[in-house]
Amino acid sequence: MMLSRTADHLYWMSRYLERAENLARLLDVSFSLSLLPQSKGARAEMSAPLVITETLQQYNTRHDTLSAQTLFDFMALDRDNPASIVSCLKLARENAHAVRGKIPVEMWENINATWLQAKQLPSAVNVGEFFDWVKERSHLFRGVAYGTVLRGDAYSFVRLGTFVERADNTARLLDVKASLMDSGHGVDDFYAWSALLRALSAYEAYLELYREPPNAQSVTELLLLSPRLPRSLRASMEAICKILAQIEGEDSRVAQRDANAIRNELHFVRADEILRFGLHDYLNQRLIDINTLGERIYDAYLKAA
C-alpha cells in the first residue's frame, strides 16, 4: 500500500530513465547504420529515430538539414525537445525529487548526480562516449534499486516502470530495422542486424544461441520471443506479469488480464509467423497493446482522483 501519487512518481522516474537509455541505444544503432559504406539510404536510417519518437515534425521546424550532428544535438542534448535524452533525465530527476523521501538516499543521489552531470555536458561531447555514459548511469540506477530498495510496493512500481518502458522501446527499436526493410531502403544484411543486436546488448547472447549469421528470423526470435534475453519483449512481459501479481490494487484484475494476454501471445507465436504477417505490422499491434496496458496500470494504481 502506498500513495497513488507516490507510486505514479516512482513509476515515471524509472520509465524516463529507461527511456533515456533506450534512446541512447536507438541513436547508436541509427548512427552505426548510417555510417555503413554500402548504406544507400543514410537519410532513412537517420530519420528513423525521429519517426519512432514522433518528433520528425518538430525537428523540421527547427532544422533545415538532417546531419548526424544536428540529429544528435536535437535528440540527445536539446533541452527544448521534451523527447531528448537530457529532457528524459530531467523528468526522471523531477519525479524522483517529488518522492525523494520515499526512495533510499543513494538512489536519489544517483539520479540527482546524473542530472547535475547532464547539465554540465560540453556541447562538443563525443557521441559514443555520451551514449556509453547514459547507459552506465542507467545501469547504476538499476543497481542501486536492486541493492538498496526495500522489497515492497515501492520496488514493484520502480521495476514496473522499467519493464513497461523497455517493452515499448524494444519493440520500437526493432521497428527501426523493420520499417527500413518494408520501405525497401537500408542495408538488409549482416551488419545491420549486428548493429541492432549490439545496441540491445544482445550480440554475445546471439552468438551463443545461434550458429548462423544474424538474419530477420533469428533476430526477431531472440529480441521478441526469448524469455532469457533481459531486453527482449517476452522477458519484459514476463517481468510485468510477475510484478502485477504482487501489487494489491483497487481494480488490478483488468491490468493483469491484459498483461497476461500479451505475454501469452509472445509465448506461443513463432518468428516465421511474425515475418509472414509483416514485422512492422506485428510490432505496431504490440505497441498498441502495451500502450493500452499502460492505461490499465494507471487506472488500477496510479490515478490520484
Binding site: M1, L3, E250
Partner: protein, 475 residues
C-alpha cells in the same frame, strides 16, 4: 597559519572573551583548529559543499527565477554551548511554550487573560491570525503549538533573549540534523575530543509527539506539504522519511463524512494526524481561500468534529504575532505563576501614540518590523539604514502605525566563521525546536544561523544567511 580576526567591539563573541582569551569551552577546539593546515580545512569545506549538492539539500528562493535551487552556505566552525547555559535555556523554553499553549487554549475558550485586562482584547480579537473557527474546540492535552521554533539570541550583556516564538510552521530542523551529520563525517576526531549531546533522535521524538496528539489508537500520521516547489520541500520529505510516514499533498487527501482519507494504491486509508507544513489559509478552500489548490475541501469540518488532528493547530499565529510578543512575560506570570527565565526584548508598539513618537524620534537606532512579517523581509535596521531609507520607512510607518513594532538594535553575539578574509566574527542566532504533547521534548541545541556579510544582523537564509552546527556539551 589561520588568520583569526579579533572580536567586534561591543559584541559578545562566543569563542573569544573581551581580553582576547579563549573561552573555556572553545579551548580544545581552537587548539585543534590551529593544528590543521588551511589547505586541509579548505578541502573539507569543499567536500561539504559537494555533499550538500549531491544530497540535494537545497532551498528555493521566492522571486528568484534563475537559480531556483540554492545551497544554504554551511560554516564548519560550530557554535558551542556549555551545559550550564543550555540547562537554563531549556528551562526557559519549556516555560515559554507552556505559557503560549495555555494562552492559545485560553483565548479560544474563556479568555481569562483578556478579562483580566493583561492583554488588550482588540489585540487578539481583530488580529487576522485569530481564527473564529477554533473557538470552543477542545484539543488533546490542550496542545496548540506541537512544534515551536523559538529564535534566541545572545546580547552584548551575555544574556539570552527570545526574539520570536515561531508557532505556525517553523522550519530549519532538517538543517540542524544534516549539519550534525556533516560535521561528524568531516571531523570525526572532534567528536572524540568533545562530548556533544546528540540531536539525531529528533524525528523519533517528533513522531512520538504527533502520535500522542490524538486519542486514536495506533494513529496514522502524515506530513502534508504544499509540494516540491516549496522552499522547504526538502525538509518535508526528510521528516516524513525519517519518521517512516507518508508525505502527502492536498490532492492526495479527501474528506468523506467528516473523516480524512488518503488515496493509496490499495484504496482509501484513514488519516488521524496531519503534520501540516502549509499555512492556515490554504488548508481548506471551503472555509479559507477558495482559490487554494493546496488544501483539502472539508478538512476544517472533519477537524472540528475531532476526527483528525492538525499539528500545529489552526490559529496559533495569534500567539507568535509581534504585537502579542510584548505580553509573553505577562502570560508566564498569569498562567504558570512563575517569573520568566528568558528575557524578552523591550518592544515599542507603534499603535500607541506615545510609543510611536518615541520610535519616530529614534528611527536611526531602532529595528522596526512589520507585525505580521517574517523571513527578514520588510524591516528597517536603523543603524545600518541610509537617510533615504529611514525617510521612506517613516512615511510607511506613519501611514499605518498599528502594523509596526520597534525594538532596540540588539548586538547579536558573534562566532568565528570562515569568510573570504580568513576566520572572522559573524553574527549568529539559535533556533531550538520545542515539541509539546503529553510531555515536552527538546533535543539539545538547534539550528544556528549566521549572517555571512560583515556586520550584518540578518541571519535569514532568504537574505543570504548561512548555518552552523550547534553543539551543546554534555555536563
Amino acid at each position: 597559519m589561520h588568520r583569526i580576526h579579533p572580536p567586534l567591539a561591543g559584541c559578545f563573541d562566543e569563542m573569544l572573551a573581551d581580553d582576547g582569551e579563549t573561552r573555556g569551552h572553545y579551548r580544545d577546539f581552537l587548539q585543534w583548529l590551529t593544528a590543521q593546515s588551511p589547505e586541509t580545512l579548505g578541502q573539507r569545506r569543499h567536500e561539504a559543499e559537494l555533499l550538500f549538492h549531491r544530497v540535494g539539500i537545497t532551498f528555493a528562493v521566492y522571486g528568484d527565477d534563475s537559480g531556483s535551487e540554492r545551497l544554504i552556505p554551511f560554516d564548519t566552525i560550530p557554535r558551542i554551548l556549555p551545559a550550564s547555559e543550555w540547562q537554563v535555556l531549556e528551562v526557559g523554553l519549556r516555560q515559554r511554550t507552556a505559557a503560549l499553549n495555555a494562552f492559545l487554549h485560553d483565548i479560544y475558550h474563556e479568555q481569562h487573560i483578556l478579562r483580566a485586562g493583561l492583554v488588550p482584547a482588540e489585540q487578539v480579537m481583530v488580529n487576522n491570525q485569530y481564527q473564529v473557527a477554533m473557538q470552543g474546540l477542545d484539543l488533546p492535552h490542550r496542545t496548540y503549538a506541537h512544534i515551536a521554533g523559538v529564535d534566541v539570541i545572545r546580547h552584548a550583556d551575555g544574556g539570552y533573549y527570545v526574539l520570536e516564538d515561531n508557532l505556525r510552521v517553523p522550519s530549519g530542523v532538517s538543517y540542524m540534523l544534516e549539519n550534525r551529520k556533516m560535521m561528524m563525517r568531516l571531523f570525526p576526531e572532534l567528536f572524540a575530543r568533545y562530548a556533544v549531546a546528540p540531536v539525531e533522535h529528533y524525528p523519533s521524538l517528533l513522531h512520538d509527539t504527533l502520535r500522542e496528539a490524538t486519542h486514536a489508537d495506533n494513529p496514522t500520521v502524515v506530513v502534508m506539504t504544499p509540494g516540491h516547489y516549496n522552499s522547504a520541500y526538502f525538509e518535508h520529505a526528510f521528516l516524513a522519511q525519517q519518521m517512516g510516514v507518508e508525505l502527502v499533498e492536498g490532492r492526495d487527501l479527501f474528506v468523506e463524512r467528516d473523516h480524512v482519507y488518503m488515496r493509496t494504491t490499495a484504496g482509501p486509508r484513514q488519516v488521524d494526524v496531519i503534520y501540516r507544513r502549509i499555512d492556515d489559509i490554504y488548508l481548506d478552500p471551503l472555509v479559507f481561500r477558495a482559490d487554494s489548490m493546496l488544501g483539502v475541501p472539508g478538512l476544517l469540518s472533519a477537524y472540528r468534529k475531532g476526527n483528525v488532528i492538525l499539528a500545529n493547530a489552526i490559529g496559533t499565529g495569534v500567539a507568535d504575532d509581534k504585537s502579542i510578543y510584548p505580553y509573553v512575560p505577562e502570560m508566564i506570570r498569569f498562567y504558570l505563576s512563575e517569573e520568566p527565565v528568558l528575557n524578552n526584548v523591550p518592544t515599542w508598539q507603534c499603535r500607541k501614540p506615545d510609543e510611536l513618537s518615541h520610535v519616530l524620534a529614534h528611527l536611526h537606532e531602532l529595528v522596526v518590523k512589520e507585525v505580521h512579517g517574517a523571513g527578514g523581509y520588510g524591516m528597517l535596521i536603523g543603524p545600518k539604514a541610509s537617510r533615504a531609507d529611514i525617510d521612506d520607512f517613516r512615511a510607511r510607518l506613519l501611514a499605518d502605525p498599528a502594523n509596526y513594532i520597534a525594538q532596540p538594535t540588539l548586538a547579536l553575539s558573534t562566532c568565528p566563521t570562515f569568510v573570504d578574509e580568513g576566520i572572522a566574527p559573524r553574527h549568529i542566532d539559535l533556533r531550538p525546536f520545542v515539541l509539546s504533547g503529553k510531555d515536552v521534548r527538546i533535543v539539545p541545541g538547534g539550528l544556528s544561523r549566521v549572517a555571512l556579510t560583515r556586520g550584518s544582523l540578518v541571519v535569514n537564509s532568504s537574505q543570504g544567511g548561512g548555518t552552523k552546527d550547534a553543539w551543546v556539551l554534555e555536563a
